[in-house]
């Protein structure tokens, strides 16, 4: 992170115990997480080694499995990257879930209300609507934070619940499939559905997510805006003193992360569900937060974490199918990993060189 404060000459980088720990921390975290997971599996009177073998098999065991893992990693990656931008500015946008839903909602509404759009227009329109939906949902908490100093953690969280309820209402009520009796909307026209590419199920959204990796990197480290964001995140009072527009940076962080989450939501309904309903997310919003944290708020780290967590999810489904282990085990393991990394990180910071 940028150091705005003038510091005394730093010694040449050397392999101190502290830096080794920092590098190795995620690994330790992952191991501890998996160990605790094994403990939980044993509580369920099942063999952890066999269970984990099934997990690996389920996530990477074949072409179909790898596709599933990639498809699951894609929204985590996109949302995780969005979170990274926000977290770097110390904007704790916990509302990814809600922004995901609102992006899906707005984009879905475009698809449902304007089915006559040609494919060339429809796709950009729904993608844009998705981003705007998420952005809008992050805008209000952003303004509340800037104008009233309201904790963004609580506001974005409340907005999560409200968004999910809103989506459930819409899917059950005004937009419900005419003549249908399930609480979901009509199917989107084919122009609004993102197809799989190259004969696989991998769709355009996956590439979009990957595209954002270099974009986020350049944004954060190669632009003045990125510098301001990181300054606001690490030394907010100093940034303000140095004349930087802290509020504008904070607002940007909100809007950008919201847009990416909304986009991810829209892509999810356009590729997996093809309609609006209440159950479009498997808790992506919260997992994305962990992805950003485990990925050390760095695009490459986020990529690795997204794949890892996606593998955990997909593998957990196999564990469920074969051993009856609840899928929520993956949640617990993920969180333990992040907690362990947190602990290891903090330990490494405590040693003042």
């Amino acid at each position: 992170m940028a150091e705005i404060i003038i510091s005394s000459a730093t010694p040449k980088a050397r392999l101190s115990s502290r830096s080794v720990l920092k590098f190795v921390a995620p690994l330790i975290g992952a191991i501890i997480g998996l160990l605790i997971g094994a403990l939980l599996i044993m509580i369920a009177a099942k063999d952890p080694i066999a269970a984990y073998a099934t997990l690996l098999e389920g996530a990477f065991g074949g072409k179909r499995q790898i596709q599933e893992t990639i498809l699951r990693a894609s929204p985590l990656l996109m949302m995780g990257l969005g979170m990274t931008v926000a977290f770097r500015a110390r904007v704790w946008n916990i509302g990814g879930e809600g922004q995901f839903f609102m992006g899906a909602l707005l984009g879905g509404m475009v698809a449902l209300f304007f089915p006559q759009l040609t494919p060339g227009l429809m796709l950009p329109a729904v993608l844009l609507a998705g981003a705007i939906g998420g952005m809008f949902w992050a805008l209000i908490p952003g303004i509340l934070k800037i104008k009233r100093g309201m904790s963004e953690i609580i506001t974005t969280l409340m907005f999560n619940y409200i968004a999910i309820l809103l989506m459930e209402y819409v899917a059950r009520g005004p937009l419900q499939e005419p003549g249908g009796y399930l609480p979901e909307s009509a199917k989107f026209v084919s122009a609004a559905r993102l197809p799989g590419l190259f004969g696989t199920r991998i769709h355009f959204g996956v590439f979009l997510s990957l595209l954002f990796i270099p974009v986020i990197y350049m944004l954060l480290w190669n632009t003045p805006l990125g510098f301001r964001l990181r300054a606001v995140g690490s030394r907010r009072s100093v940034a303000r003193y140095a004349g930087m527009s802290v509020n504008a940076s904070i607002l940007f962080a909100f809007l950008f992360s919201g847009a990416l989450c909304g986009l991810a939501g829209l892509i999810e309904v356009s590729t997996i569900h093809f309609r609006l309903k209440g159950s479009i997310s498997a808790g992506y919003g919260f997992t994305a937060i962990l992805v950003a944290l485990l990925g050390r708020m760095h695009p490459i780290g986020v990529l690795i974490s997204a794949v890892l967590f996606a593998a955990l999810d997909i593998g957990a489904q196999s564990m469920h199918a074969l051993f009856g282990l609840p899928i929520t085990l993956a949640d617990a393991i993920r969180a333990v990993i992040v907690l362990s990394v947190l602990a290891a990180d903090s330990l490494s910071h405590r040693r003042k060189d």
């Binding site: 704790w92 009233r148 953690i153 944290l293 969180a335 992040v338 602990a343 910071h349």
Partner: protein, 329 residues
Amino acid sequence: MDWSLILQWGFLIALLTSAIRLAVPVLLVVLGEIITERSGVLNLGLEGIMIIGGVAGFMTAYFLETGPMADASGYLYSWIALLAGVIAGIIMGVIMSVLSISLKADQTISGVTLVVFGVGLANYLYRQSFSTLVASIKGMPLVPIPVLSKIPVLGDILFNHQPTVYMTVIIVVAVWFFLFKTTWGLNIRSVGENPAAAETSGINVEKTRYAATLIGAALVGLGGAVLTVVQLKLFREGITAGRGWIAVALVIFARWRPKLALVGTLLFGLADAAQYRIQALSSVQRGAGSIPYEFLLMLPYLLTLLVLYLRADQQDAPEALGRPYDRSA
């Protein structure tokens, strides 16, 4: 929907009674967090701790009630279950304390991650034990207070509740007394306002914060257990529905004072109770004018936003809140 139904006595009495009962779990959580935050530790893991307390309490109650000693003394099992919730809360509190106080990790990150851990673990443990079975327990009986509950209207609303409600009132007074009338409370508050000065006057900042966080977490776990064991008598994924987070906001609304916490949570309880009852009313009378239940479910969250908006200037927050204390710094 016939809105005039609301203006009937029966409805209002039921509403207010229900409001008190619904407020109790959240009030316990808020009280716990007030103690913790007064010492300067920002414990955002409330939602996770609450649901762990809830699952611990519920599962203890269930297995005691359906186990070999099923017919043993009346409602003792509920109390044991509540104790289980307290212990579970303390265990979660240990994780938070170690991370925040000894390891000085960022408290926001620790808290949010702890929530994900708690929720995931709670759901896992429940599903693992019950798979698809929908389990419920007996809960606690209403204990009307002898003379007072005979008072018309007020008697029904205030004095005809489960014992946990009365217990919570006592806890409110106890927390207030503890924080403002005892030396321990003074220590906690000074550690939260100016840890360096407190350290100089001989108070062990770390130990005090540990104590405050663990006591707080114990109350949070208790709140979760009261929710599942006494009030709802079942457990489901997401049963806390954000109450832990609402509690964080309510602590701010209460200006870190137990008495205001009582007021704030009662307001919240009222919103919660109103939302249930209006749902019930409008489902009985379908047709134009009935409010979609999803919007009613939004009420608690909207109220929380309003409450936060009104208390936006955190002048009363403990000065050192959220900042790890380093003795050598």
